[in-house]
């Protein structure tokens, strides 16, 4: 049997069977030809043909069938062996029978071929049965091997954190399980359009990690696989038409192989390929096996990338928290264990080991300054039981000079607080800045109040002596008979005293804008303007002035103070105008504010004076009558400022002036 098999494997099992069948057919044809010539009956010729030619055809068909059947080629020689054994056994028996003294085959040229042909067919039958059984066993074993390889690789993937190690193991196991010479893991570099031989087995020394394959379709099997999104099988590279054999494969005399994609199709990581130097067929199971290994690699790679990202994020976070002076902490509420990082330990002046390994929250409460301890505890309690969020500021017990801010978030599981985590930041500098700012604001407020009090007291106290001056000047005027010059002098003195009185009144009003103002309320500017028109009736009539008013809005303001503003501005507009002046009052909306403008056609203001006119005791171009105290516009500015607005003037000397100011809208029209 072994002998036959050797013969079979040298010549080729199918060829032997086919040749044997052909011999019988040829013999049958010759035999018929001879039979006709010697005049044998047709019936016996027909039987001979049936018994020799038909087995011959069966053998030829069997040889053909084997090429397409499910029996491994390896076992074809065995089948041929069985065939020859059948032939040989029958031939031997017949020869023995023929040589025995009593026997002898009557018609050896008919009987021997018939019997050996039939026994050859029987041998073929046994051979096919045997080959099938062996093939199935071989297949099962191979599949078991593959499954073992997949399981082992899965285990390695879980255990190792060295990707290259895993890739090498995978390559080795794939090559072993498929009985291939080569296996390779190719790493895709999309930018350079190439695949790097990352790991592999069977390849020449020193090319692992160096050799590359083009990732452009049609240039290599790997590239073609990437482009087609499914495993690609090559039976013989020499006859392959879909792509060319890359240098890596041809230089290793590769003929056949399987390539599969590692990673998702839309974002492949690379290729897993296995190859052999001989022409080879691969089953669907083989392809599935290689794909399973590729999937294990893909998962391991993804996992490794995730871990790498996590490590990088952690490193970034570490840098950020250190740079921002932030300590990170977590509190396991159920177990009462607080763990934090080294920065927090440093900030709190605690033992880093205690802090990083964890301690009860009480240990951390102990670090809080007693003044804020109770409040901080109750805030944490409230966060856990109610709000889910913590924000608190407190000093540490280190001499009360360090301020920290803590922020945290509670995690719940089915309404039950499980964990709280957050950060602690050193805010000492901010606190100090805030305190300095508050002190400064306090000082400014105080100084402002003192100034207002001073202005009020000064103007209030000035009134008393001034009244004396006025009163006694009038007494002199009424009780004594002065000459013309005396009367003139007295008039100047009285006029001076009167002007001083108006200035003091103005100063008093100016100093009281902030402290004595009413709260701001919705005010109808139309009503305000009507009041002012009444107050100025005499002035308006004396100057034959016209006041032309557009519809005015409601604003948020202090009515008395706004009346003062309108009165001063209208009075100025009439006063600083020639005869029969016309004054326009308009309002336009600007966002949430109103801009009110009072435009006159008077003498105007020189550009260099336009800034100064809002300062106390600064008067516009003096008029012959010398009226005005120089405080009206300063008072207007202060009132508008109290309303959060601005006041300004636009003027062209000789053409007129427009005073505009902004007021907050009352919110409804």
């Amino acid at each position: 049997m072994a002998h036959w098999r050797r013969l079979g494997s040298i010549i080729g099992g199918r060829r032997i069977i086919g040749a044997l069948g052909a011999l019988y057919v040829i013999f049958a044809v010759l035999r018929v030809f001879i039979g006709f010539n010697i005049g044998e009956p047709v019936s016996s010729i027909f039987i001979i043909i049936l018994l020799i030619a038909v087995p011959g055809f069966v053998l030829i068909y069997g040889a053909y069938w084997l090429s397409r059947g499910d029996i491994n080629t390896e076992f074809h020689a065995d089948i041929a062996g069985w065939c020859l054994v059948g032939f040989g056994t029958m031939a031997g028996l017949l020869i023995l029978f023929h040589l025995q003294p009593e026997g002898g085959i009557s018609e050896p040229l008919t009987g021997i071929p018939i019997l050996t042909a039939l026994s050859s067919v029987a041998g073929l039958g046994i051979g096919i049965y045997d080959g099938r059984a062996k093939s199935r066993t071989r297949q099962l074993k191979r599949r078991a091997n593959q499954q073992d390889a997949v399981a082992e690789l899965g285990q390695i993937a879980l255990e190792t954190d060295d990707l290259d190690d895993l890739m090498y193991e995978a390559a080795r196991k794939v090559a072993d399980a498929l009985d291939n010479d080569y296996c390779k893991v190719l790493d895709l570099d999309p930018e350079n359009e190439e695949l790097l031989l990352r790991q592999g087995v069977g390849w020449k020394e020193g090319i692992t990690g160096e050799a590359t394959v083009s990732s452009v379709e049609a240039a290599s099997q790997a590239a073609y696989t990437l482009a087609n999104n499914h495993p690609i099988i090559v039976e013989d590279l020499e006859t392959e038409t879909r792509f060319s054999g890359p240098e890596l494969l041809t230089s290793h005399d590769v003929h056949s192989g399987i390539s599969t994609i590692i990673g998702p199709f839309n974002e492949p990581w690379g290729i897993l390929g296995t190859h052999d130097t001989v022409r080879k067929e691969f089953t669907e199971e083989d392809v599935n096996f290689v794909q399973s290994v590729a999937n294990i690699l893909a998962e391991a790679i993804e996992q490794a990338e995730k871990e790498q990202q996590l490590r990088e994020r952690q490193a970034q976070l570490d840098v950020a928290t250190e740079a921002a002076s932030i300590g990170i902490w977590t509190w396991d509420i159920q177990e009462d264990v607080v763990t934090a990082d080294e920065y927090l330990a440093e900030l709190y002046g605690m033992d880093p080991v205690t802090v990083t390994e964890g301690a009860s929250i009480e240990v951390f409460y102990d670090q809080v300054h007693e003044d804020e301890a109770e409040e901080t505890k109750s805030k944490i309690k409230r966060a856990v039981e109610d709000t889910g969020e913590l924000k608190a500021e407190y000093r540490l017990k280190d001499g009360a000079s360090t301020w920290v801010e803590i922020r945290g978030e509670v995690e719940y599981d089915g309404g039950e607080p499980i964990r709280m985590h957050g950060a602690v930041a050193n805010i000492t500098e901010r606190k100090e800045r805030e305190q300095r700012l508050e002190e400064l604001i306090g000082q400014l407020k105080e100084s402002n109040e003192r100034l207002e009090k001073f202005a009020y007291a000064a103007s209030h106290d000035l009134q008393e002596p001034l009244r004396m001056v006025s009163s006694y000047l009038q007494l002199i005027d009424s009780r004594y008979d002065l000459d013309e010059e005396g009367e003139e002098f007295l008039e100047f003195a009285v006029d001076g005293a009167d002007r001083m009185r108006s200035m003091i009144d103005g100063l008093l009003q100016y100093s009281r804008v902030e402290t004595q103002g009413d709260p701001l309320e919705p005010v109808d500017l139309e009503c305000i303007l009507d009041d002012v028109r009444d107050n100025l009736q005499v002035t308006i009539e004396e100057n034959s002035a016209t006041i032309d008013t557009a519809p005015l809005p409601r604003v948020q303001g202090d009515p008395d103070q706004l009346r003062q503003v309108f009165q001063n501005l209208l009075d100025n507009a009439i006063e600083y105008s020639d005869d029969q002046p016309t004054v326009h009052v308009t309002a336009e909306r600007n966002g949430t504010d109103w801009i009110v403008s009072i435009e006159d056609d008077g003498i105007g203001i020189n550009p260099e004076e336009q800034e100064q006119i809002f300062e106390v005791f600064q008067r516009g171009q003096s008029r012959s009558d010398g009226d005005g105290t120089g405080i009206g516009l300063a008072l207007c500015e202060r009132i508008i400022e109290r309303h959060g607005g601005d006041i300004w003037v636009e003027s062209e000397p000789g053409e007129g002036s427009t005073f505009s100011f902004t007021l907050p809208s009352s919110g409804r029209q």
């Binding site: 106290d461 009244r467 006025s470 009038q474």
Partner: protein
């Protein structure tokens, strides 16, 4: 009112006003004596007949300036109105202040009237004489207990 002559206490530190007030009362219809103290402490001493005013008579009317040295008018008003023996004496606040708060504060402290000194001297004199007519002839006042 002893001997049919009214005793008026003027509490005023401004000599100009004292001069004007004195003139107005001198020309007045009702016989009166005008006593003047220049600060709040002296005014109270006068009312309580203390120190140099041990012999002073209880005033029938007090004209009180608010802005005074040592003890200001409001404090004097408060003390007078807190004393059951003195609170019946009418106190007229006569001040140069036209401040609304001063006025409200004075009435809160039970001032009997609040007047702003007119700037015009003629009007000032008229005001004093109106006061005199009203408080010393029209109004009935109780006798001082301490006489």
């Amino acid at each position: 009112m002893s001997e049919n002559e009214a005793d008026i206490l003027l509490v005023e530190d401004n000599p100009g006003d004292v001069r004007l007030t004195r003139g107005a009362f001198k020309d007045g219809k009702i016989a009166n004596t005008l006593h003047v103290t220049e600060d709040g402490v002296e005014a109270l001493d006068f009312c309580y007949q203390r120190n140099e005013f041990a012999d002073a008579r209880c005033p029938d009317l007090i004209l009180l300036d608010l802005n005074l040295p040592r003890k200001d008018g409001e404090e004097v008003l408060e003390e007078l109105k807190a004393d059951s023996d003195l609170r019946h004496i009418p106190v007229i606040v006569l001040t140069s202040s036209d401040s609304h708060e001063d006025m409200v504060k004075s009435y809160d402290l039970h001032a009997n009237a609040y007047l702003t000194k007119p700037v015009n001297p003629v009007k000032f004199i008229e005001t004093i004489q109106t006061l005199e007519r009203f408080w010393l002839s029209l109004v009935r006042l109780p006798e001082c207990d301490r006489q």
